[in-house]
Amino acid sequence: MKLAWEHYIGLAGLVLMAAGNAIGLFWAPPEMMMGDVGRILYVHVPAAWICMVIYLVAFAGAVASLATARPGADALVESSVEVGVLLNVLLLVLGSIFAKPTWGVWWDWDPRLTASAIMCLTFVGVMVLRAMVDDVERRASWSAVTTVLAFVNIPVTYMSVRWWRSLHQVQSSSSTMSAEMWNVLWLNTVALLLVSIWFVARRYRIARDRADQLRAPPLEVAP
C-alpha cells in the first residue's frame, strides 16, 4: 500500500522532534541566567512561531475562499484553524510552565500573554461558528470572513513585546542567543513545522471528504 506524501513528512518531523528534544534536554548548554529551566525555550518558541505560520496559512486560505469560493480553500481554513488553535493552546501551556520558575507566577497580564490568549479565543470562535452552521457555502464564506478579522490581531500579538514595556522578552533571534542555542532552536522549529504540515494535510483530507459528502451527488442518466 502506498502511503500519502504527508505521512513521510510527519515521520521526518517526528524523528527530528525526538532528536531536537534530546539535544535540547541533554546536549545543548544551559542558559546563563535561567540554567536548565531555559531549555523549555526549545519547545516554547517553536510553538509560538509555527502557531503564527499556521494562522497565516488559515488567513491565506480564507482570502482564497472569499476570492474563488473553492471547497479546497475552505477545507484549508478548517484544517489550519484547528491545528493553529492546538499549537496556540500548547504555546500558552508551555509559556505558563516557563513563567512559574522564571517570573514566580503561572500567568501574568503582560501584553504578550494577553494578546496570545486573545488570539486563541478569536480562532476558537471561528471553530464554534463552523460547528453552528450546516450550509456548506454559508459556512465557507462566514468562516473566511471571521478568519480574516481574527488574523488582524496577530501582527499586534507579534509586536506587543516591542510596542509595550513587557515582562516577556523580545522575539528570539540569532542576535539574542548564542549560535549553539540558535541551532537547536531551529532544529526543533523545523521538526514542529513538519509535524504541523502533517496534521494540516490529514485534517484537510478529512474536511474535503466531509464537504463532498454534504454536497448533492451529480445527476446521472437513468438506466
Partner: protein
C-alpha cells in the same frame, strides 16, 4: 458617491427611527448596562478599588450591552424578510453596512453618555482630565465595537445559537479596543499625570480605521452570499 452617502444616511435614519419608536429596547439596554455598573460597584468593596476600576466597568457595561443591541439590530431585519427587501431595492451593501454600523455606534455612544454621570456618582470617579478627550474615547470606543459587531451580528443572526455566538466571536476580537478604551478612560479619571491618554486614543483610532475599512469590504461578500 453622493448616492452612497444618501443611502447610508437613509439606513442610519431608518435604524434610529426604529430605536426611537421602540424605546423599551433602548431603555432595556441602558438598564442592563446600569445593572452591570452596580454589580461591579458592589463587588469592588472599597472606594479606592471602585475608582481604579471605574473606566473598565464603564466599558464592560457598554460592551455587554452592545451585544444585546447588535443582536437586535439584525433580528428586526430578519422579520418578514426586511434585509432581503433592502438588498433587492437595491441598497448598496456598503451603504447597508456603514449605515447600520453608524446607527449602532450612535446608540452605543448614547448609552455611554448616559452612563457617564452614573459612573462618576456611583464609583466616585470624576473625570479629572480633559472632558473632550473623554468624549473622544466614547466616540472611538463605540465605533470600535460597532464595526466588527455589525458584521458579526449579520452573520450570527442567520446561524444557530445566535445569542451565544455573537459574544463569543465579538468579545475576543474587540478586546484590544476594550483595553485601550478602559485604560485611557481610567487615566483620564485620574487626571492623566503621565500624559498616557493620547497614546491609548491613538491605538483606539488605529483599531477603528482597520476594522471600519476591512469590515465594510467583508460585509459585501456576506451579502452577496447570504
Amino acid at each position: 458617491m453622493i448616492r452612497l452617502v444618501q443611502q447610508i444616511a437613509a439606513v442610519v435614519w431608518k435604524d434610529l427611527l426604529i430605536e426611537w419608536r421602540g424605546p423599551a429596547r433602548l431603555s432595556g439596554l441602558f438598564v442592563f448596562a446600569v445593572a452591570i455598573l452596580l454589580l461591579m460597584a458592589f463587588a469592588a468593596g472599597s472606594v479606592e478599588v471602585m475608582r481604579k476600576i471605574a473606566g473598565g466597568t464603564l466599558w464592560v457595561g457598554m460592551l455587554l450591552a452592545s451585544t444585546r443591541s447588535l443582536d437586535q439590530s439584525f433580528s428586526v431585519e430578519a422579520e418578514q424578510g426586511a434585509l432581503e427587501g433592502l438588498v433587492l431595492w437595491p441598497v448598496d451593501p456598503l451603504a447597508l453596512f456603514y449605515g447600520k454600523a453608524l446607527a449602532n455606534a450612535l446608540v452605543l455612544f448614547g448609552v455611554g453618555v448616559a452612563l457617564t454621570p452614573l459612573t462618576i456618582a456611583v464609583m466616585d470617579a470624576p473625570i479629572a482630565g480633559s472632558p473632550w478627550v473623554y468624549l473622544g474615547f466614547l466616540v472611538a470606543g463605540s465605533a470600535a465595537v460597532a464595526a466588527p459587531g455589525t458584521l458579526y451580528a449579520m452573520i450570527t443572526s442567520q446561524a444557530r445559537g445566535a445569542s451565544v455566538l455573537l459574544p463569543l466571536l465579538l468579545l475576543p476580537l474587540v478586546m484590544p479596543a476594550l483595553l485601550a478604551a478602559s485604560r485611557g478612560t481610567t487615566v483620564l479619571m485620574e487626571g492623566d499625570p503621565m500624559d498616557q491618554a493620547g497614546g491609548w486614543l491613538g491605538l483606539l483610532i488605529a483599531f477603528d480605521l482597520v476594522h471600519w475599512s476591512l469590515s465594510g469590504l467583508l460585509f459585501s461578500r456576506i451579502v452577496e452570499n447570504p
